[in-house]
Symmetry: C2
Subunit: 450 residues, 2 copies
């Protein structure tokens, strides 16, 4: 939720924009944190975004703001800014952030900006751009402290003070061999405690947790979160140290990935699109509903087949919603638990049978409870005990089917390396709906002998 | 997903447990990271958990493992460990982690352990225990660097080397006045750059972002994530600096809160319970399904009222699933987007009308597309054009209702400070189901003139 102080700030900026009070607007905008401005950008028109961006004085802040914007907003804004201004903004930023921004640009624009940048920076950015932006290589920072294994603690301290003055907070000091390969890690405190003549390789920790450049960012986030470390070194295929990923970047990834999972499970696209236009949001959501639409049409053909039954026992129609609803909801519970369990590492993908078995067991117990309850309501309202049995056992069968499909499908998807989050939502619920209705009518035909 | 190396490790430990190979087991367990052991604990029996815990030699590792365990597993394990061993384990841990563990214990056990601890630690822990464990006070670390504003840069460096040698990574150096109130912050680099005679208060940054002890941990996480800071100072009601929260604790909170939101939205309880027993999981999930059960029974009474209509037009029953399904799925999309938008700050709670309006607009467009499609299928399969109109406009009405309820309900809940995530799932879908079915029959009666 937006903090109240931000709400007041936003109202003030909006008022100043309306009034055209340039002086006050400039003052307040330049005092506001770039992260807050980026949120504010989601709620104002493009021309107001441009006005605010132009009056920001500090180039570093302009850069921070650009980094925080949604891709669409960023692209629109940057199309109106001349190359030389962009280059001077990028020069204030760390190269991993520069690479992120340039990676979003259309190719021609990207290369014209890269050409205008100074050579060292542009080369570094080009190296970073070669990695997929959702991998360790794409998110790593190429500036880090790397000390040679055969220097002494004293030499290491001197080199820290001389060469690495711009690395503000060296969480860990990585140690490399003569080929630049990661061989160990030591802490600032170790440098101070050990005699200054001692070689790094004699006291460094050699058991270093590292990730490779092509590891998925979600995997990296899990490692950093699980082992409570502040940074993780990134190595290339030859074990050469090429960058580090720090915990503050991990936070953004964890939030992004959680949002992505939640939206995918609800079948609402992958990216958060609330600030996008109605048209874009609709286009995003349309295809996901198609599964549910086809499922519905299938259900209709199934029920049509039972029309003879229905015309004799019209009251059967009244229980379609409760049977579908109980199945759908318990199935959503199962698949959500499985998807989240896999995402957080609490469920092992190999354990298909125990996981599904447990869900089906839960489905059976819940099905017996609710089947009994709903069956009694059905039997007593129509004074037909057979109806109670039919409805009750249909609720039970629907809930067993739902927990089975709801847990099995995401487990299977994960097994074949497809994101289990996409398997839930419309697909699973639709399958459950169809099967529940089918079994309902089969049970009815059996018990009413028609 | 569990990394493959862990899978192999787990298989090995399981085999050694079965074989009772004590020597090898001891070796491999003591080499495994506590975080990995804690995951493994989710998959083995209590007696095996106890065996593994007992053979861990390093007390610090025992403590780390205890910190990482699920509450139930922790309580069961600790009930078998004598006080004096627990106290010696707690002594190796930071006091905020100690407070977390003691906070989980039954009161008598907690006080007997606190009595056994050394006085300084136990007092600090008792102070921490006074804060709600989901607030800034409950998660903060009471050890931090606090320098007086009227000392010089040189004195500050000396004090860092002497007093704060055990604070491994001082991200930020907080500056306090004579009453312990937070007045500024400075960096290690500033201390080095400025002349050593300069007073801290003359160069410190006075604009410090801080949080109060009673702020909800989710709020704290948002601030740290939004402003990309590595730590945030915590102050009490008198603005006295009492602790800090570092980014590595924030990561756990963000993951926890995301899991909580996902589970709540699916109506599957709040805590991740996959490792709990079938009975506990069932009990957790039973009440959430009750909304859906009552809704289903209500739908059944509504449909019963239309029995006359249904007996004449039996085929109407066949379209109940598709109309309910389309509404349910688009409604889930809307509420998920709104709930996640509120959680990530992309939707402002005050904006009820524009947010709901946008959703209804999207619902209308999607409703027209799918209404046309499903209407045509319906009309052509029964060769009845009225049926096409009835089904098509029911799909449209159901999708409009769904986007309206799906977005309005969580916005209203957030407005009155009830967690919007609980509003979604069973409650919203059930309301949508009932209204969709009701409107369907009303539309049918209107068009077929019965």
């Amino acid at each position: 939720m937006l903090r109240s102080q931000n709400r007041i700030l936003f109202e003030t900026i909006k008022r100043l924009l309306r009034k055209g009070a340039a002086g006050n607007l400039r003052k307040i905008v330049n005092k506001t944190h770039a992260a807050d401005l980026s949120i504010f950008f989601g709620f104002i028109s493009y021309s107001d975004q441009k006005r605010i961006f132009d009056i920001i004085e500090d180039k570093e802040k302009k850069g921070l703001l650009l980094s925080e914007l949604e891709k669409d907003t960023f692209l629109r804004l940057i199309s109106d800014i001349p190359d030389n201004l962009i280059i001077s903004i990028l020069e204030t930023m760390p190269n991993d952030d520069v690479a992120d921004l340039i990676g979003k640009l259309p190719p021609e624009r990207a290369s014209s900006i890269l050409e205008g940048m100074n050579k060292i920076d542009s080369e570094e950015v080009e190296v970073l751009l070669r990695y997929d932006d959702k991998t360790a290589g794409g998110i790593m920072n190429p500036h880090f402290v790397a000390l040679k294994e055969d220097i002494t603690a004293g030499e290491a301290i001197a080199s820290l003070q001389k060469e690495y003055r711009d690395v503000e907070m060296p969480f860990y000091l990585y140690v490399i061999d003569e080929y630049g390969r990661l061989v160990g890690v030591c802490s600032l405190r170790q440098l101070v405690v050990f005699s200054s003549e001692k070689l790094l390789k004699d006291f460094m920790t050699i058991d270093v947790l590292s990730v490779q450049t092509d590891m998925d960012q979600e995997e990296v986030a899990k490692i950093v979160a699980r082992y409570d470390i502040l940074a993780v070194p990134v190595t290339d295929e030859n074990n050469k140290l090429v960058g580090i990923i720090t915990v503050d970047d991990i936070i953004d990834i964890i939030r992004e990935e959680a949002t992505e999972d939640i939206l995918k499970m609800a079948g609402a696209g992958e990216e958060f699109g609330e600030t996008k236009s109605v048209f874009l949001s609709t286009r995003n959501r349309l295809p996901w509903l198609f599964a549910s639409c086809l499922g519905g049409i299938l259900a209709f053909f199934i029920i049509s087949n039972f029309e003879k039954t229905l015309s004799k026992l019209t009251f059967l129609a009244a229980f379609i919603p409760v049977i579908m609803g109980m199945g759908g909801n318990v199935g959503t519970q199962s698949s959500t638990i499985v998807v989240r369990g896999i995402a957080t590492g609490k469920i092992i993908i190999k354990d298909i049978i125990p996981v599904v078995w447990k869900e089906v067991l839960i489905g059976s117990i819940l099905g017996i409870c609710y089947g009994l309850f709903i069956g009694i309501v059905a039997a007593s309202s129509y004074s037909k005990w057979q109806l109670g049995i039919v409805v009750g056992s249909s609720v039970l069968s629907s809930m067993i089917i739902a927990t089975f499909i709801g847990s099995l499908v995401p487990m299977l998807f994960a097994r074949i390396n497809i994101d289990p989050a996409v398997a839930t939502g419309p697909f699973v619920t639709t399958a459950i709906d169809i099967l529940s209705v089918y079994f309902y009518f089969m049970i009815a035909i059996f018990f009413f002998n028609i």
